[in-house]
């Protein structure tokens, strides 16, 4: 789980230019500066890197780093 969170934090920093200092577990993707297409792009990267299915309806801008980590961990455990 923490491994996936670390990857997510690195991804947000490297690909989405989010300042690592602002990436708190309870920060929503929208608070981190991702608009709706930014969230869509993040989901595409999750699909490419970890095979997270695009059609799982992962939610929207109100997803937090923590909740996204939990969803990805659970989906990966199912596959």
């Amino acid at each position: 789980m923490s491994d996936i969170r670390d990857h997510l934090v690195a991804l947000l920093g490297d690909t989405f230019e989010v300042d690592p200092a602002t990436i708190r577990p309870d920060a929503t993707l929208s608070e981190l500066g991702l608009d709706s297409l930014g969230v869509a792009e993040l989901l595409v990267v999750l699909q490419e890197r970890w095979g997270v299915p695009l059609d799982e309806g992962l939610g929207g801008d109100d997803l937090t780093v923590e909740s996204l980590t939990a969803v990805v961990t659970e989906l990966r455990a199912d596959t």
Partner: protein, 350 residues
Amino acid sequence: MTRPAAVIAGLGSCLPLRRITNADLVQEGLNTSDEWIRTRTGIRARYRVAPGVGTADLAVAAGRAALHSAGRTTAACVLVATTTPDRPCPATAPEVAARLGLSGTPAFDLAAVCSGFLYAAQVASALLTSGTFDSALVVGAETYSAIVDPQDRDTAVIFGDGAGAVLLERGTTADPGAFIRFDLGSDGTHSDLIEIPSGGSRRPRRHGDTSEADHFFRMRGREVYGQAVLRMTASARTVLSRAQWPAATVEAFIGHQANQRILDAVAQRLLLPPERCHGNLRHVGNTAAASIPLAMADAAACHLVGPGARTLLTAFGGGLTWGSAALTWPAATAFHLPPEPRPPQGEQHE
């Protein structure tokens, strides 16, 4: 080794006369802003037909421009790729053919939403290389202003009207403008991501149980983004592999002009530098099946790509459908014409 191929001998385009800027949309009462539209789509303006002007009027003009570009007056068959035919029945292509003086030639529509042009190009290509016909006029033409809900911010800012056309002739893979390889695909399990829910056989208008909103075009933007990026990237890789072209050798890339962020995401994954990516999304918006030939005609008119340059096209649309083509850039000079009004029996002209 050269082999028979469909070759682009002419390129034509048509845009309506009314240009609608982002500011115009705000002025019309749409809850948005120029900044919101630009950052999410890259679009600054799109064109809209005058009342009474339909897809055939744009298709005839683009088709005539493509024939003129090739120095021809005839084609052996006419294909019109469109989501927005003039009427639900009959197809638009026979009228387009007749108005081009080609009455009697085989003419049909092809529906694959935004992938329609590439679907039509491969069908026409097969008809030419099989020896069935020696030329084909392939038109992508759309009047999305007829199906978009003017109050739907997710679609009203994106879509525009227009048409693009190519005249294909039988030649060889050594000719500039030759289609080398294609890739097409579909996934109907996601048919509800991009749809007009009513007005077809499943929910006919006459039943009276459909709301006005169900007759508008709808798109689930965020899900479409993901599918579009993944499908176009995979399809582009497939066609490059079939053509045995390393991505680094692609000299010109034109993706379906859907949204700049989708185009950037695809180009980034294919490692295609911005200077090799061409398009006119910023000026014309998303014109669905018309977008690729319209963008090609625009790039050709501006002499942005040299004849023979390795070119990659890729598209994604409702269905879901997707497609890609590897071709060499044509030598033709592109022509542009305004919409062509219907002959006297039409009621209103642009």
